[in-house]
């Protein structure tokens, strides 16, 4: 019996409610994709691209071109390793793919951090959030939206990864622990801290609403 699908339209960042189906590739298509069938591979990429793109985008918080590069690299790696993947029990292709995407994103973040340490923080605006946030995103974000991004961006990438995987991709503690290579206790503590930051922003928003616009 196939595992209950839990990853939903959150990939588009719109909803956190499970959609109920079509979130995992079916076994027949997967087998065909493993054998290199072009149509099946295309189906594989199209099925998961939004989730991977959303995850990489939320973890990197950087310009779209870098998100695109990393997401592409994730799929190239995944397709290269697809024939060796075995799905057992509740294990899902999406979790495997999100693992690759998370680790690839964190690798990029660590490389960036190392480069910043080596060269000193760049004088330009591009070194870190919010300055790396595309200006165009900012136009849409406005007020609360922007502040939410900023709050979450101020978390370390390890904490942010836990929150993103839980809140937007609905992974449970065990899966998050597996993806990040940490124990479940660490997952819980990181998630707790991330939620505290959210709560603080909620309280500030409530105060703003009470006080009116400046």
């Amino acid at each position: 019996m196939p595992p209950e699908p839990r990853v939903s339209a959150v990939a588009q960042g719109q909803s956190h409610k499970p959609s109920g189906d079509s979130t995992e590739i079916d076994d027949v298509t997967l087998e065909r994709a493993k054998r290199g069938d072009p149509a099946a591979r295309e189906r594989f990429v199209k099925l998961y691209e939004a989730r991977v793109y959303a995850l990489v985008g939320r973890l990197l918080l950087t310009c779209p071109s870098e998100v695109d590069d990393v997401a592409q690299e994730v799929f190239v790696r995944a397709l290269g390793a697809l024939s060796r993947v075995e799905t057992r029990g509740d294990s899902k292709i999406s979790t495997w793919l999100l693992t690759i995407a998370t680790r690839a994103s964190i690798d990029v973040l660590r490389r960036t951090a190392r480069a910043e340490r080596r060269h000193g923080r760049a004088a330009a605006d591009t070194a870190s959030f919010p300055d790396t946030e595309p200006f165009s995103d900012m136009v849409m974000a406005r007020d609360l939206d922007t502040r939410v991004r900023r709050v979450l961006a101020e978390l370390s990438h390890d904490h942010r990864a836990v929150l993103v995987l839980r809140a937007y991709h609905d992974l449970d503690y065990g899966e998050i622990a597996e993806v990040l290579g940490i124990d479940e206790g660490t997952v819980k503590s990181r998630l707790s801290r991330a939620r505290m930051a959210l709560k603080a922003e909620l309280e500030r928003e409530t105060l703003r609403n009470a006080g009116g616009k400046a």
């Binding site: 909803s15 779209p64 190239v76 946030e133 406005r142 991004r149 449970d172």
Partner: protein, 424 residues
């Protein structure tokens, strides 16, 4: 099922505000193309061997150069390889040789011998380009110039753009000639350099020193004028070809623009805006576009100019709206955040309503704003039209086709945006 308690409704609402980027339509196709490049290693050897054979074949086939001889009875235009155009006047005699590159195209070093007559040269940057004359050699590194060979007075070199180095045949005296200057190579050596700007040219060409070359001077001025007109025509043609249809913007047809206007929504693509730095093209993108180093330089320079213009508008608006002139260290994001804090939602709704109608070609739906609202509207107008304007400038500088490919590379500059504050 999940072991974790669900987030509270408030937390969910907050998290929902954090929209994620979505992949462009072409993403899957690109991934699969990229994947195909990663063939199994066992095939690499075969592919490498084939490539080596192909390269060797190409090199053998393309060995040698392109050459030609011109004896002009009337004014004629000659392409010398891929990098140069020569307008040779009647009576001009010249011979040229252009080294082929690996593709068999004439982009390599150029050697020209101009024996007599007057010829105007336009040379793009690239490898060596030398013009040999009876009295000396003119070495070029990307420029426009005219060479007039006169048996009596010598060889007059007039530089219109860039610079050349003139080396005399006897003794090797070298003279660097900058734009707006002329040099005469007579049998005795390099005579002089003089300014030949529009006002100075008649004086120089008709001076006693250059007596006998007055006709040449007029001729040079005429050719210079012709070249300028040609350049203007080229720019206008490019502009015409790249001009966005007034009824549509990137990826949006008129029906979609009308729908957006009905909903007071804006949809646009834009390059990233950054304070203190300029956007750079990645090596992968440059390769994907097949850009030459010069094209890449022009692209990055144009994007930097667009970025600087937008930053300027942003900073000016910030100062006007907030009254705070201390903008040092403020990012684009921070500037806009402050501007928005000072702008009410009804104002933003009216701005969006007017701009969406404007883009759909509809009459304004509310009166022209004043004060702060007008300033913020100008900022947004500049922002939503930035992509179209950038493509227009790129088309002028790089050609319409390449400008379009640059914008299409990622389905629009940086990414597509869609936004609304609701209708008033």
């Amino acid at each position: 099922m999940s072991q974790v308690d669900d987030f509270s409704d408030d937390e969910r609402e907050l998290l929902d505000r954090w929209s994620a980027p979505t992949p462009p339509v072409s993403f899957a196709a690109r991934v699969l193309r990229e994947r195909r490049r990663g063939w199994p290693r066992v095939r690499y050897g075969v592919v490498a061997a084939c490539l080596a054979l192909l390269t060797a074949g190409l090199l053998l086939r393309n060995r040698g150069d392109l050459s030609g001889m011109v004896q002009s009875n009337a004014r004629s235009t000659i392409d010398i390889g891929k990098r140069a155009v020569v307008v040779a006047e009647s009576g001009t005699v010249l011979e040229y040789h252009v080294a082929k590159d690996w593709r068999g195209e004439g982009t390599g070093p150029v050697w020209v011998e101009q024996r007599q007559g007057t010829a105007f040269y336009r040379v793009e940057r690239g490898g060596a380009f030398k013009v040999h004359t009876v009295n000396g050699t003119i070495e070029v590194t990307g420029t426009c110039f005219t060479i007039a060979v006169d048996e009596r007075t010598g060889v007059l070199v007039t530089v219109h753009e860039g610079s050349v180095v003139a080396e005399h045949e006897v003794g090797g005296t070298r003279e660097s000639v900058l734009a707006g200057n002329s040099v005469l190579l007579n049998p005795k050596g390099v005579v002089a350099t003089h300014a030949h700007s529009a006002s100075a040219a008649p004086h120089i060409m008709h001076s006693e020193r250059y007596s006998g070359m007055a006709d040449l001077g007029d001729h040079v001025a005429l050719m210079e004028q012709t070249a300028q007109l040609r350049e203007q025509v080229r720019v206008l043609q490019n502009r015409l070809a790249s001009k966005p249809n007034s009824e549509r913007t990137y990826g949006l047809d008129q029906d979609e623009l009308l729908r957006l206007a009905d909903n007071c929504e804006l949809s646009w693509d834009t390059p990233q805006v950054q304070v203190g730095t300029s956007p750079k093209l990645t090596d992968d993108d440059a390769r994907a576009l097949g850009l030459t180093p010069e094209q890449r330089r022009i692209l990055e320079e144009t994007m930097a100019q667009a970025n600087a213009r937008m930053v300027g508008i942003l900073q000016t608006t910030y100062i006007a709206v907030t009254g705070d002139e201390n903008i040092a260290g403020l990012s684009a994001t921070a500037l806009l955040s402050e501007i928005e804090d000072k702008t009410s939602t009804p104002e933003m709704q009216r701005i969006y309503e007017r701009l969406a109608a404007e883009r759909a070609g509809l009459p304004p739906r509310s009166p022209k704003p004043q004060g702060r609202e007008a300033q913020v509207e100008e900022l947004y107008r500049a922002y939503v039209t930035m992509g179209d304007e950038l493509q227009g400038v790129l088309a002028e500088r790089l050609g319409a086709s390449l400008a379009e490919r640059i914008r299409d590379l990622r389905d629009g500059f940086s990414s597509r945006r869609h936004s609304s504050f609701g209708c008033p």
